[in-house]
Point group: C3
Chain length 168, copies 3
C-alpha cells in the first residue's frame, strides 16, 4: 500500500536510530495513524461510539490521541508520540513532523472550529502546545515547550511562552 | 449513582466533541477517578500495597496518576489526561478542570505537606506544573506549560515560566 | 542483586510517599530500567528488531522510552515517568533523578552523536527538554518545563525557555 511505503520513507528520513524498515511497524506513530484511519472510518459512517472506542484504544496503546474529526495530510510523521493530542477540528498539511507531548488543542473559549490549521512541511518540537483556531504557515519550526496562541506566517521559527518569532 | 451523573454532566459541559453520554465511560479521565476511588479505599484501610497497585494500574491504563492520599473535590474533570500526576498531599476544590500533562507535584525540597492546594472552579491548561505546598485561589486560570511555584490569589490568570499574573 | 538493592535505596531516598520496599517493584521507573537492560542486551548482540521490540514494550507499559544505545549511570531514579524519552546517544552519569515528561533528545539538525551528556548528581524537573549534543555538568538542577539547548557548567540551577542560569 502507498500509505505504508510513505510511512517507511518518512521514518527513514526522520529517525536516524532506525536499523531496519520492520521497526517502523513497532513504532507508536505508525500504529496511531492506522488506528486513526479505523476511527475515522466509523466516524464518517456516524458510528460515533465505535469511533471513540478506537480513539481511546489508540491513546491507551500508543499514548497518541488523534480525534477522528481531524484532517491529516500526507506523510505525517509522529516521533516517540507519548502525550500527543490532536483535536477534533485540527487540520494538518503534508510532510509535517510532530514530536511527543505536542497538543493541537482548543483554548476552552471557542465552540465549532476551535483547533489550529497547520501548513505544509511544519516541524513541531516536543511539548509544544498550539491552541485555538489559528493558522500556522508553511515551513514553520516550533520550538520545544512553546505555547502558540496566534497566527504564524510561513518560513519562521517560533519559541517560548507565549510563542515569539525568532528567525526568518 | 450521583458520582456518575455528575461526571456525565461535567463531560458534556467541557468536551464539545462528545456525541453521546456513553462515550464518557470510555474516557480515561472517568476511569482514572474510579481507579483513584478504589485505590483510596485500600489506602484508608492501610492496605498500602494494594492501594499502590491500583494507582500504578491507573497510570498504565489511563496515563493518569492520582495518589490515593490526594483529596479531590466534586465534579473534577480531567480531559485527555495523558501524563497527569497528582501528588500525595495535594488538595483539589470543586469544579476543577485539569488538562493532560498537568502536574500537582513537589519541589523535592519539602517533606510532609509538599503538594499544592487548588481552589474551586480552577482551570489548569495542558502541560502546566504547579509545584510545592502553595495555595491557588478560586476561579484561577493557569495557562499551558506554565510553571507555578508561588501562591496565586483568586480570580486571576497565570502564564509563563515562572508563572506571572497577566489578567485580573 | 546489587541493582535491585540500589534501586530500592534511591526510591526510599527520593520518594517520600513510599510505604514499603515492595512498592518499588510496582513503579514504572524500576520496570523501565529492567526493560532497558533487556533491550540493551539484544542491542549489543545486534538483534536490533528484538531490541526495538522491548523498547517499544517499555513505552507502552511504562510510558518511558530509553533507547538501548543510551548509556545510563548507577542509581538512576525515574519518578512517575510518563513521557520520559532518552535518545540513542545520550549519556547519563551516576545518581541522576529524572521526573516525568523529561526528554534527552536531539534538535533534528545533527547526525551521529546528537543527544546530551548528563553529569553526576543531576536533578531534572518534570517536563524539561534537554536537546542536542550538549554537556550538563555535575550537581546541576534543571527546572520544570525548561528547554536547555546549550552547555551548562557544574553546580548551577537552570530554568525557563531557553534555559537560563539563575543560581550558583
Amino acid at each position: 500500500m502507498k500509505f505504508i511505503k510513505e510511512q517507511i520513507k518518512v521514518a527513514r528520513k526522520n529517525d536516524p536510530s532506525l536499523n531496519s524498515i520492520w521497526e517502523v511497524f513497532l513504532s507508536v506513530g505508525f500504529r496511531a495513524i492506522i488506528l486513526y484511519k479505523i476511527s475515522r472510518f466509523f466516524y464518517i459512517h456516524k458510528r460515533y461510539f465505535l469511533s471513540r472506542y478506537f480513539m481511546e484504544r489508540s491513546k491507551r496503546k500508543t499514548g497518541i490521541e488523534i480525534h477522528p474529526g481531524a484532517l491529516i495530510g500526507k506523510r505525517l510523521f509522529i516521533d516517540h508520540g507519548t502525550g500527543v493530542i490532536i483535536g477534533q477540528t485540527a487540520v494538518i498539511g503534508d510532510d509535517v513532523v510532530i514530536y511527543h507531548g505536542v497538543t493541537l488543542g482548543g483554548t476552552g473559549k471557542e465552540m465549532g472550529k476551535r483547533h489550529p490549521n497547520i501548513g505544509n512541511n511544519v516541524f513541531i518540537g516536543c511539548g509544544a502546545k498550539i491552541l485555538g483556531n489559528i493558522n500556522i504557515g508553511d515551513n514553520v519550526k516550533i520550538g520545544a515547550n512553546a505555547v502558540v496562541l496566534n497566527d504564524v506566517p510561513s518560513n519562521v521559527t517560533v519559541v517560548g511562552i507565549p510563542g515569539k518569532i525568532v528567525k526568518f
